[in-house]
């Protein structure tokens, strides 16, 4: 027997799984799950309905689920345990590439004073240009990229030190 706390679309579901029953938020549900292939496709039967879902595990406790063309994330926690892992602490002043792409322009230099919302870097990915802006006012403490270079997702672009 195990209780799982599952977070889907900002809602919490308590799912209780035993060998012969599944309960959601205390209410028994008539459900069964069949893996349809080795690629992560599952069929959930509940009462008279059958719903296909494609599930990819992301790490130990997250699942990316595709259902009816919609992609949702499900976070699963063992309900009895209180071991919330802290999200990685990212330095708030670090401007990170939100996707891989080409740095079109670096608009600031190290040491430069910038205002909150001021564009620091122009990144282009898949035909789309986007301006990455300063999260707060402060000073540019580091510029890690140059124009016309390619960056990966998550790369540090510019570091801003708050005032």
């Amino acid at each position: 027997m195990a209780i799982y706390k599952v977070n889907v679309g900002k809602k919490i579901f308590m799912v209780d799984v035993t060998d012969d029953q599944i309960c959601v938020d205390g209410k028994p549900v008539n459900a069964s799950l069949t893996p349809l292939n080795e690629g992560g496709l599952f069929l959930l039967r509940q009462d008279n309905r059958a719903r296909e879902m494609h599930v990819q595990a992301q790490g130990n406790s997250s699942y990316a689920v595709m259902v009816n063309g919609r992609h949702v994330m499900a976070q699963v926690e063992k309900g009895n345990v209180k071991n919330k892992r802290r999200a990685e602490q990212v330095d708030a002043g670090a401007l990170i590439a939100p996707m891989p792409g080409m740095v079109v322009n670096v608009l600031v230099k190290e040491g430069q004073q910038v205002n909150q919302g001021e564009a620091l870097v122009v990144l282009e990915s898949m035909k789309m240009q986007m301006q990455l802006r300063s999260p707060f006012s402060g000073q540019v403490s580091k510029v890690s990229v140059a124009s016309r270079t390619h960056v990966e997702k998550g790369a540090l672009l510019v570091q801003v030190a708050g005032d």
Partner: protein, 495 residues
């Protein structure tokens, strides 16, 4: 006629399909990223172009011309994007003794200069937006601003396709933006000339498909509406445009015809217009190439536009007269993009781990996607087009909704649910959505609560099973075998 397709992705495959139907051998070109792509597998042969970076492969004129020569191709089809609107490329193809499947280089040059195109349109009597057809000079903004009504659009002369357009609401913004726009235009198009164009509020985007033989015969193949745009990129297109009167449509066709005649147009082209809420049309630009949304025209006319292009190139004549072009029913296309709707529709990357395409009556899928394919950030985020035909608009909408619901793409998030939301929205259903519609469009949350609970059950059961597997089975090497094994199957079915 051996045809080299100087493109990638779905449009390369789409051109090759018609090549195969016509018995024309096709040649694919590919960058490092596309070594195993479907077009490479589909073509009769393929030639390596260069590194993944487009400027070193698909945008590299010398590399493409070399590939074409090497393969012995007799003609080159540029698709859309990349070199399709590049005068130098078209000229290089012709100078190498091959046929460029598209307009003459001088037509491409002229339509590429948006101000020149507007000037000609004005000369032959098309309605064009007021304002001077002149490049703006960043040095004299105050003077320039005279006579400008705000908000005003700043556009690159060599832009087009919605790229790099900025909206200035005041003279001050305009001065700043002109500088930024020039900077962007220089980087993107190699020419920093920009111009101003009045903003037409709540405009609809309507375009006319034309086909010319370059010897004076011009056909029009009906109009398309492409008002559903996000960040000025078309998302949903349809043919015909809803709610136009017969006289409006003839007015449009006449205008497109007049301009195409003035250009003695050859091959496929699209004449784009804005329609203001008062019912006035304004010419915007000509796209001298096949469009992403061409399938909707194919479905309502029954004419294979690529076939028409290829046969024109091979035989120098069109096989249709205007009388033979009849519109039948309604077609709507939805662009499936690898984007994360939760993160402001940012393009995403990942591997396609599961794929099932829609089928059945009235559905056409154009895609070069396959299970196992890597979606990278190197090129654009369009991964599939779903096109539905119906006997009327309502039937086409329902079919498109049905097909989008059937489309299973695992591995990357897509805009499918967003597309569904737009399709079922009141404004779209009645055919009144304009180009600003998506600016503040809000998804109506639709009975997803039951699905959320189901997702929760699935996630819990899988987590439960993984944990059990961890406890019972060998402690290592668990990840690969996560989804398999008879034991699991029996357990889960047992409930």
């Amino acid at each position: 006629m051996k045809v080299l397709v100087a493109n990638r992705g779905e449009i390369a495959l789409r051109v090759m399909r018609t090549c195969r139907e016509l018995g024309f051998p096709s040649v694919a070109v590919y960058s490092d990223a596309d070594r195993d792509s479907l077009p490479v597998r589909y073509a009769d042969e393929s030639v390596y172009l260069g590194p993944t970076l487009a400027s070193e492969s698909y945008l590299n004129i010398a590399a493409v011309i070399d590939a074409a020569k090497k393969s012995g191709a007799e003609a080159v089809h540029p698709g859309y994007g990349f070199l399709s609107e590049n005068e130098a490329f078209a000229r290089a193809v012709e100078e190498a003794g091959m046929i460029f499947i598209g307009p003459r280089p001088e037509t491409i040059a002229l339509t590429g200069d948006k101000l020149a195109a507007k000037r000609i349109a004005r000369e032959v009597g098309l309605p064009v937006l007021p304002g001077r057809d002149l490049p703006v000079d960043e040095a004299i903004p105050e003077d320039m601003a005279k006579g400008v009504t705000f908000p005003v659009l700043i556009k690159a002369v060599n832009g087009g396709g919605g790229r790099g357009i900025r909206l200035a609401r005041s003279q001050e913004e305009m001065v700043q933006m002109v500088a930024a726009a020039r900077e962007e235009a220089r980087a993107a198009f190699g020419d920093d000339t920009v111009y101003l164009e009045p903003l037409v509020k709540n405009a609809r985007h309507i375009e006319v498909q034309i086909l010319g033989d370059g010897n004076g015969q011009i056909l029009y193949l009906g109009e398309r509406e492409c008002s559903i745009q996000r960040r000025r990129q078309k998302l949903i297109e349809e043919a015909p445009a809803p709610g136009l009167s017969l006289s409006q449509r003839h007015h449009l066709f006449d205008a497109a015809l007049k301009l195409a005649e003035a250009l003695n147009y050859r091959s496929l082209g699209t004449v784009e217009f804005l329609l203001d809420p008062q019912g006035h049309f304004y010419f915007i630009e000509v796209n001298p190439r096949i469009q992403v949304e061409h399938p909707v025209t194919e479905m309502v006319t029954g004419i294979d536009l690529v076939k028409a292009q290829l046969l024109l190139a091979a035989e120098n004549q069109l096989h249709y007269t205007q009388e033979q072009i009849r519109l039948n029913g309604w077609a709507i296309e939805a662009r499936v993009l690898a984007e994360n709707p939760e993160l402001d529709f940012m393009p995403v990357t990942g591997d396609i781990t599961h794929l099932r395409e829609p089928g059945g009556p009235g559905i056409r899928i154009d895609t070069a996607m396959y299970t196992g394919m890597a979606i990278t950030s190197d090129y654009d985020s369009l991964i599939a087009k779903v096109i539905a035909w119906g006997e009327d608009r309502q039937s086409a909408i329902r079919r498109l909704q049905r097909a989008l619901g059937e489309f299973q793409i695992g591995g990357v998030p897509t805009d499918i649910q967003f597309l569904e939301g737009v399709l079922q929205s009141e404004s779209f259903q009645v055919g009144r959505a304009d180009t600003t519609y998506l600016e503040d469009f809000q998804m109506v949350p639709s009975g997803e609560d039951s699905a959320n609970q189901e997702v929760a059950i699935v996630a819990a059961l899988i987590a439960h099973n993984r944990e059990r597997a961890r406890t019972l089975a060998a402690p290592k090497g668990e990840s690969a075998s996560l989804w398999r094994g008879a034991a699991w199957r029996e357990q889960m079915n047992g409930h």
